[in-house]
Amino acid sequence: MAESPQVALKDDSVLVTEAKAGSYAAFDELVNRYEKKIYRLGMNLTGNPEDAEDVLQEAFLKVFVHLPDFREDSRFYTWLVRIAVNEGLMKLRKRRSDKSVPIEDSVDEEGEVMPREFADWKPNPEEQYAQAEIEEILRNAAQSLSPGFRTVFLLRDVDGLSTQETADVLGISEGAVKARLFRARLQVREELSKVFKRG
């Protein structure tokens, strides 16, 4: 059987260079490459389809405007995610505009984490629910986190950024990323345990 021809994917850095030189095709390829991830990030961060679409559009429009100034100190994707996270957090701030406390002030990395759910989970819970149901369960559990913790959790465990990249995106230390991730994972686990535990 004949194999389909392999098309080598260009590195992001090559596409960035071409886009800076005026290639819309290169810019479009960068958008195609990451639009799903950025939409997912927007949905997970804001929990709202309209806000997620705004995050997606605003992030890529800012990338378009600022691309000539992008010095490539970090990966293109890390830069894009930083812009998208800022857009998402701005959405959340606007939603909470009646409150004067900035979102980041609510982050407490030192507070106690005490698991309360110790029942085993049903095996393969993802196979026991329809896709839409499992999406809603996971979305609600992530939304239970404060924005500071939620952002770290999404970047590390949903988008797969490294601890270093997450720290770079958020402008915090790697230690702070680990501390927030630890607490976020345990809190999300608690929420999911209420649904997935046996009995």
Partner: protein, 82 residues
């Protein structure tokens, strides 16, 4: 042999799952997990939590959203090169 208590174990579960602890601590933690049912449940369900989120299936990009994004970007690009 150094024994971990449950608080120390919980503190390290996240780092363990990221492969970010040294061999000695890893061995001590695994010994604790072998003996402590509560910590083992928390460990197993935390690992499953991460697996559920990283399967990448959540939130497909709707066609209409994608079309509006590309239309907006194309418009901006065309205005720039005018």
């Amino acid at each position: 042999m150094t024994l971990l208590n449950c608080d120390d174990c919980l503190e390290q579960i996240s780092n363990y799952l990221d492969g970010a602890i040294d061999a000695d601590l890893k061995r001590t933690l695994e010994e604790h997990l072998g003996l402590c049912r509560h910590c083992k449940v928390v460990f197993d369900s935390t690992r499953k939590t991460i697996e559920l989120y990283c399967d990448g299936k959540l939130f497909e990009l709707p066609i209409g959203v994608r079309d509006r994004l590309h239309a907006a970007l194309r418009r901006c690009w065309d205005e720039k090169v005018k």
